[in-house]
């Protein structure tokens, strides 16, 4: 029996409950709505909520514990020597049992006990599903019936329904907090485990990054070095190149849009420029790897320079193109926020437009522009797909933009994509990197938002 069928049935029951609750409230007063405390539909809604919510909560709990309870029962039925296996071996056995029960072919030959366990598992699962079905539906029906019975004409149905809705609204707004807490906890726990194996100082100040760890303890020469400095240097190099591309172009186009462009030109050019912000980053990555990187490499060969085919330059330039619209739209906002009186004053003294812009508007808008640039920097630091597709993999401590460097996000992706075990320093390192990334971008954002907000207040 599918869970979705159950949910659809519950929804159907809820609409029935709504109908009966509403009807009962009306029959109680003989159709004279005025005698009821609330409108009839509120009685209906109240009944529907009683019918649906407890059953859905039960469903959620049941589904989250079903697997572990059933697995426990299957383990008990297994022979003693299997039960005494170390936990990770036992997990493998259980996995085989699960696959077998779903009819998937397992690589090893199927023996009698495994088949029995799989059958046991299947039957327990189907019993559990049936039980869930019966229990959830009866809870829904009983709670709905009870709610419908207890409707009286003085019952404050509207207030109760509104309280429930209010609770939903409140809990929705706290979800953002839970997300942040979830991010911090999930990244922090794994990072702590990483720092138990690798000292924090080595991670933060080590100059060498080579996360290859030995799979067997007796293997030679691959102990793994986790110094993150080259990664952050690479990230900074690419970010710097991106900013060198994005800031002048973005700022100048914002100035032109705000001060020179005719209305017609503005309505035409602005959305086209903003298309750059809407293009998925994987497209930029493809563009960088397919077109820009070979272009730079060929250009380098023509003038006698060796440019790596995964140069920091290509990734940085393409990232800069991606960031242009952020810089330009943020600067556009702050430039437009500069009051007209300041421009008029400057024109009145005989300054030309460009002089006004350079000497009056830019200084006045500077905090806002700086805030916008900081936001763009944090975006560049956290950007993943462009660097994954266009930057290198080997950690390389260099300031030469023609060489390949690697970045923090590239390493997170390469460490976590593919087969992984969650207790090796190699995979845990990704979480430590993510923690630092999170902290850095968060700090940059806080500073940027603070600057932008503080500046805005001056003219309001």
């Amino acid at each position: 029996m599918h869970t979705s069928t159950l949910i659809i049935l519950l929804l159907g029951l809820m609409s029935l409950a709504y109908y009966f609750g509403r009807k009962r409230s009306l029959t109680l007063v003989g159709g004279k709505v005025r005698d009821l405390h609330s409108l009839p539909s509120y009685y209906g809604m109240q009944t529907a909520m009683w019918c649906g919510i407890p059953a859905l909560i039960l469903l959620a709990f049941w589904l989250s514990f079903e697997e572990s309870v059933v697995t426990g029962m299957v383990v008990e039925s297994l022979p003693q020597e299997v039960q005494n296996l170390p936990p990770e071996r036992l997990d493998l056995v259980l996995n085989d049992v699960r696959n077998l029960s779903q009819g998937d072919i397992v690589s090893s030959t199927v023996d009698q006990t495994m088949q029995q366990a799989a059958d046991h598992y299947t039957s327990l699962m189907s019993i559990s599903h049936m039980a869930l079905f019966v229990v959830a539906l009866s809870v829904a029906i009983l709670a709905g019936l009870w709610a419908q019975r207890t409707i009286t004409r003085e019952q404050r149905a509207r207030n109760r329904v509104e309280k429930a809705i209010n609770f939903f609204l409140l809990s929705s707004s706290t979800l953002a907090i839970f997300t942040t807490v979830g991010i911090v906890l999930s990244v922090l726990f794994e990072s702590v485990r990483f720092f138990q194996q690798i000292p924090v100082t080595e991670f933060l100040f080590g100059l060498e990054w080579s996360p290859q760890t030995a799979i067997r303890p007796d293997q030679v020469g691959s102990s793994g070095v986790f110094g993150s400095v080259p990664l952050f240097a690479g990230t900074m190099l690419i970010t710097l190149i991106a900013m060198i591309v994005a800031v002048p172009i973005g700022l100048m186009s914002a100035i032109y849009m705000a001060e020179y462009a005719s209305k017609h030109f503005r309505t035409l050019a602005k959305p086209v420029l903003e298309v750059l912000a809407g293009i998925p980053t994987v497209v930029y990555g493809f563009f960088a790897a397919l077109t820009v990187a070979p272009f730079f490499r060929d250009l380098g060969t023509d003038i006698g320079l060796t440019v790596s085919s995964e140069s920091a330059l290509a990734a940085g330039v393409v990232m800069g193109i991606m960031i242009i619209p952020f810089v330009s739209s943020l600067s556009d906002d702050v430039i437009n926020a500069v009051p007209q009186a300041m421009r008029d004053g400057s024109y009145g003294l005989g300054a030309t437009r460009s002089e006004t812009i350079r000497n009056v508007i830019i200084p006045a808008a500077l905090p806002g522009i700086v805030g916008g640039v900081l936001l763009a920097v944090s975006r560049a630091i956290g950007e993943t797909m462009i660097v994954v597709m266009a930057a290198g993999l080997s950690a390389n401590l260099t300031a030469n933009p023609l060489e390949a460097v690697t970045t923090v996000t590239v390493q997170i992706v390469t460490l976590l994509v593919g087969d992984q075990e969650f207790d090796s320093a190699k995979t845990l390192a990704a979480f430590a990197l993510a923690l630092v990334l999170f902290v850095i971008t968060l700090a940059l954002n806080m500073i940027a938002l603070h600057i932008v907000r503080k500046y805005r207040e001056q003219y309001e």
Binding site: L170, T179, S253, T409
Partner: protein, 432 residues
């Protein structure tokens, strides 16, 4: 007097000179601004031109005409038409036989293998399906159009540089001669590439399509929308209409602004740690992808919805409260319906972002190679941007055009979503 006049003239000269300089600067500055915008526009057009010129050929596919003799010896040796047996017959052999017949002078074993390589391995299944659907074909000889191999296809589309020395090309000289023969006999044709829209991923470029990824994207966005929209709107309503101004709501506000700027890959790690490692949900499924993307788009939706709620004038609230509506009734009957277009616009833009998002999905294992088209939110699947990433990594030249074509499809979706948002805003925009 004369002296004074001279002085005056000197000053005027200097001012004039300075003016020239200043006007020049003014012009330069203006050109600089215009140049910056033009550069931006050049980037946009260059990007689109690159993608389209690389990708438009993927909508066509080369087909080869073969004279296939449905040899009863090979398909149904004892006149058996049992579907079980029919489905396992040697259809590859039929194609090989027909190729041998066309090029009788190819006898070398290795050359034969190269010759058979001109036809895609998918052709076997085409022939099988034809026989399965119509067993009466057995024993007859038919002209059949089958899919050509990707290298053949690339050559026909002119993507293989024939000026290179033979050892540097994927298509060798003997293959060229055969293809030339086939063309002479009018056996080669380019047709609209339906496979691209009806198939899932494949290792063979000519058999790969975007249907699986498109379905995966659809399911992922469905989960994302059903979670993020109600929760986002509810959070916005609470913060804008009910929340008391205190420390707690301040924290929530700052939090939402910060979440909007957290790098997307960090959300992927959250999904990996919480949904996959803690709750034990399977990898690579749209359900987990949708959950992660929902958490990511939530701040966008909340911020847009709050702006929409803010723009509803207080007089409407006061009027509703004045005729005796409860605060909740005021919100649900009057304020939210009026703010809904704005909320929808924000949601569509958030969904468009989610549609193009790749990095967090890599973290939850959506990079697996999946051939089947997913049927539900619990089936392993790829999504469009991840499909693009995977194809971009493939070494075959033919995948370059598929990647570009998939990008074109993705961009078409994104642009139409954004246009929808603009249209909604235009249609429902109200000045109070």
């Amino acid at each position: 007097m004369n002296n004074q006049q001279q002085q005056h003239k000197k000053t005027m000269d200097r001012v004039q000179k300075g003016l020239d300089r200043r006007y020049r600067q003014e012009r330069h500055f203006k050109w600089l601004g215009l140049g910056a915008i033009m550069l931006g526009l050049v980037f946009v057009s260059f990007l689109f031109i690159t993608i389209i010129s690389n990708g438009y050929t993927a909508f066509q596919q080369t087909y080869v005409k073969l004279d296939v003799f449905y040899d009863p010896e090979m398909i149904a040796p004892i006149g058996e038409t049992d579907p079980e047996l029919l489905s396992r017959a040697n259809y590859g052999g039929l194609i090989k036989a027909s190729m041998r017949q066309m090029f009788p002078d190819v006898t070398n074993r290795r050359e034969k293998k190269v010759l058979y390589g001109l036809i895609s391995s998918g052709a076997t299944y085409e022939i099988r399906d034809a026989v399965m659907n119509n067993p009466e074909l057995i024993g007859t000889k038919q002209e059949v159009w089958v899919v050509a191999d990707d290298d053949f296809d690339m050559l026909i589309k002119g993507h293989i540089d024939l000026r290179l020395p033979e050892s540097d090309r994927r298509i060798k000289d003997n293959q060229l001669a055969w293809i030339h023969d086939l063309q002479e006999q009018d056996r080669v044709e380019k047709r609209f590439n339906t496979t691209f829209f009806t198939a899932g991923d494949s290792r063979e470029p000519e058999l790969s399509g975007i249907k699986g990824a498109a379905y995966g994207s659809f399911f992922t966005l469905l989960i994302c929308l059903t979670l993020a929209f109600p929760v986002g709107v509810a959070a916005a309503v609470y913060l804008e209409e009910f929340a008391p101004k205190n420390r707690w709501t301040d924290i929530i506000e700052v939090n939402i602004n910060n979440l909007a700027a957290v790098p997307s890959i960090v959300f992927g790690l959250l999904g990996l740690a919480v949904f996959i490692n803690f709750f034990g949900l399977p990898r690579s499924v749209p359900l987990v992808g949708g959950l992660v993307l929902a958490l990511m788009t939530l701040p966008t939706i909340i911020i847009a919805s709050r702006a929409a709620l803010k723009s509803v004038p207080p007089s409407i609230r006061e009027a509703a409260l004045g005729v005796g509506a409860s605060p909740m009734q005021t919100i649900t009957h009057h304020v939210v319906p009026l703010a809904l277009p704005g909320m929808l616009t924000g949601t569509i833009i958030g969904m468009a972002q989610a549609l193009g998002e790749t990095a967090p999905l890599l973290m939850i294992g959506m990079v697996a190679f999946i051939v089947d088209v997913p049927g539900s939110v619990m089936d392993p699947s790829a999504v469009l941007p991840v499909q693009i990433y995977l194809w971009a990594d493939s070494p075959e030249r033919a995948f370059v055009e598929r990647t570009s074509a998939a990008i074109m499809i993705l961009l078409a979706f994104l642009i139409s979503m954004n246009l929808l948002a603009v249209w909604l805003r235009k249609k429902f925009e109200r000045r109070w």
